[in-house]
Each structure stands twice: as structure tokens, then as C-alpha cells.
């Protein structure tokens, strides 16, 4: 298996030859560009981060077969659909765009160089403006903080005493006031 991985490494000097590397007879050179899955010359070639060459349809099918355990078929390094690099040989532009075929081959990843003057205009450039929308619950918050609903009062008078009666009366009064206020808020 180790010699296979040696074979699969692409020599930079030869990488331009693309699809037409094999004549059938010329096995020695051709095997350098063989897909590690179908053992044929790689079509729509992609290379993994660990350096192993595959046809994109072959690798795609392998990744589909083991969705939970995606490893390189050669060296079992962890691989990922987004981390394979397509190989574009010279002359391959004449062919049909491989991405139009199914399954689509992942595109190459290239980052634009940073522009020289990076003045972004007060931070209001492409995504500098934010707007938020929300509904407050002001009156209810107001009530709970003013009338202490739901909280234990500091000095609850013992049952039966006149003070207890008074407190009961007061709490009922305030409750009714609150309800009236609510009703007024809703119907007014």
C-alpha cells in the first residue's frame, strides 16, 4: 500500500498532462495518474490533503458509502468533501465543465487579495447597519416591581389579627386596581 501512495503523488512537472497521460502501453508513466479507487486514469481528478489522487465520482461514492467515518481510502487520514483540491490540467478547458456532471466536483478554493486602502466608511459598509425589533412588556414589569407580586413580603402578619385583615384588604384593593388598570389599557 505504501508504494501505491508513492505512485499517487503528483509530480509538479507532469501535472499539466491531464487526461491523456496513458497510451495503454506506457504503463509506467500512466500509473502515476491512476485513481486509487477505480485504478483507471483519473477523470475529473481531485487530490486529498494527504496527497492521494482520485476520480471525483469515485471519491464521492466512497464518501457516500461511509458518511460517518470519512477517511482516505489509501492512508485512512480524515478527509472531507470540502478539503479536496480539484486538478485542472492544461487543455481540460476544452472539455465539458466537470461540475455540470453529477455529482458536482468541489470547486477550487482561492481567496481574493486584500484591497490596498481598506477604508470602510464609518463601519456602514456592506454589513455595518443593524436594526433590531422587539416588543417590551413595560406595564407588567412596572406592576411586578411596584406591587411585589410573587415575592414574599418581609413581614407577613399572623392570621386572625386586625393587621392581617388590613393587609388582606389592601392586597385585594391593589389587585382590583391593577385589574382595572389592565382593563383600561386593553379597552381604551
Amino acid at each position: 500500500m505504501s508504494e501505491k501512495s508513492e505512485n499517487a503523488k503528483v509530480h509538479p512537472s507532469e501535472s499539466g498532462s491531464g487526461s491523456g497521460a496513458t497510451d495503454g502501453e506506457d504503463k509506467k508513466d500512466g500509473s502515476t495518474f491512476e485513481c486509487n479507487i477505480c485504478l483507471d486514469t483519473a477523470r475529473d481528478a481531485v487530490v486529498s490533503m494527504c496527497g492521494h489522487l482520485f476520480c471525483w465520482p469515485c471519491l464521492h461514492q466512497w464518501l457516500e458509502t461511509k458518511p460517518n467515518n470519512q477517511v482516505c481510502p489509501v492512508c485512512k487520514a480524515v478527509i472531507n468533501k470540502d478539503k479536496v483540491v480539484p486538478l485542472y490540467g492544461r487543455g481540460s478547458t476544452n472539455q465539458q465543465d466537470p461540475r455540470e456532471k453529477l455529482p458536482p466536483r468541489p470547486s477550487g478554493q482561492r481567496t481574493e487579495p486584500e484591497p490596498g486602502s481598506a477604508f470602510s466608511g464609518f463601519g456602514l459598509g456592506e454589513n455595518g447597519f443593524h436594526m433590531s425589533f422587539g416588543i417590551g412588556v413595560f406595564p407588567f414589569g412596572f406592576f411586578t416591581s411596584m406591587f411585589n407580586f410573587g415575592e414574599l413580603r418581609p413581614s407577613a402578619a399572623p392570621r386572625g389579627t386586625p393587621q392581617h385583615m388590613e393587609e388582606q384588604f389592601l392586597s385585594k384593593l391593589f389587585l382590583w386596581l391593577a385589574l382595572l388598570f389592565l382593563a383600561w389599557l386593553i379597552f381604551a
Partner: protein, 208 residues
């Protein structure tokens, strides 16, 4: 059969035939049918093991989803090994199950099986009886494995003591393979093997 499977097996077949292991007679592959779905493999027992000098025949079935799924391989030649069933020849090897990778080939599978013969994994057994013997009595295991290699795989080491015990059981009307299995399972203790064979028969008779 899916095109990719047949194409690949054809290429692999050529690869194995040309490989240096074939030149050294270590591995061999033959076609069983024309559409490359079934093959016959052969591996030589590795040196310095009880399997030395034997030739082990394998049945290789290629699934339609090959090479995305592993080939189904089992031993046709009877073998005494912790990771291979002495009854069915089924193999317990990770690369033939969940550790299969699409870049593996017939050649690597056969070489892995050869490696399995020289490095058994008794903690992940296929045949519990063999694995127990391997762990508890390694000398007995090696003698038994060598005897099986001699009888079934053409190995050179003849064990006259074992052969005599089998002959004794054969004289009682037991089939030679059955006698060998019973004796092997009971560390070549003739009494216990006889007991096991005949109580099994007795229960069968009662059952019938």
C-alpha cells in the same frame, strides 16, 4: 455486476498475477467464473508459524458495490486459528469489515490474511474454542494447528500421536473430521473427547 467492480477486479487480477508474491508462490488468485464475481485465492502458510508449508484455499466473492464494500472472503481449507471458524471458515478481520478502504486490493487482502496467520488476535476471536486454547495452552494450540495444516493444507509435519488417537475414535465409528474436532477441542484428551462425542450421539438418539 456494476461496471466499476468488474473493471477493477480485472485490473487487480493482472496486478496479482504480475506481483512478486506470486513469483515467490506466497499468494495466488484464480478465476472461478467468467464475470469476475467469484474467485479462488490461495495463500502459503507463513514461515515460523504452525501453518508453514501449508497451502490455504480461500473463497472470494466480489459484491456489486466493490470496491466501496469489501469482498466476502472465507477459508475453504480447514484451519485451526483463533480468528477463523474451524467449522465454516469465516474470518474475523477488521479490514474485511468496517476497516475496509476502497484502495485495498485482492493482493493486499491476501497479504493481510497471511499476516493474520502469523499474528492471531485471541482477544477478538471468531472461534471461541480455539481462542481459549490459544490463551491457556499455547503449545497445545501450536501442535493442533500444525496437525490441521498437515491434514488439510498439505503441511509436512505428521503427528503420529494425534493420528493414533483419531484412529481409535474412527474404530468406534466416528468420522475422522468429527474425531479431530472433538480431540482438538479437548486438548487431545481421548477420554473426554469420546465422552463428548458419544453423549452428543446419545442425546441425538433420545431426541429422535
Amino acid at each position: 455486476m456494476a461496471n466499476i467492480a468488474a473493471q477493477r477486479i480485472k485490473r487487480e487480477f493482472k496486478e496479482v498475477i504480475k506481483s512478486e508474491e506470486v513469483a515467490k508462490c506466497a499468494i495466488k488468485v484464480e478465476l472461478v467464473n467468467d464475470n469476475y464475481t467469484e474467485l479462488k485465492g490461495e495463500i502459503a502458510g507463513p514461515p515460523d508459524t504452525p501453518y508453514e508449508g501449508g497451502n490455504f484455499v480461500l473463497e472470494i466473492r466480489v459484491p456489486e458495490t466493490y470496491p466501496f464494500n469489501p469482498p466476502k472472503v472465507r477459508f475453504i481449507t480447514k484451519i485451526w486459528h483463533p480468528n477463523i471458524s474451524s467449522v465454516t471458515g469465516a474470518i474475523c478481520l477488521d479490514i474485511l469489515k468496517d476497516q475496509w478502504a476502497a484502495a485495498m486490493t485482492l493482493r493486499t487482502v491476501l497479504l493481510s490474511l497471511q499476516a493474520l496467520l502469523s499474528a492471531a488476535e485471541p482477544d477478538d476471536p471468531q472461534d471461541a474454542v480455539v481462542a481459549k486454547q490459544f490463551k491457556e495452552n499455547i503449545d497445545m494450540f501450536q501442535m493442533t494447528a500444525r496437525h490441521w495444516t498437515n491434514v488439510y493444507a498439505g503441511g509436512p509435519h505428521v503427528n503420529t500421536e494425534f493420528n493414533e488417537k483419531i484412529k481409535r475414535l474412527q474404530d468406534m465409528g466416528v468420522d475422522d473430521h468429527q474425531a479431530r474436532v472433538a480431540l482438538s477441542s479437548y486438548n487431545w484428551d481421548l477420554e473426554r473427547a469420546t465422552e463428548q462425542l458419544f453423549t452428543a450421539r446419545l442425546t441425538l438418539v433420545i431426541f429422535v
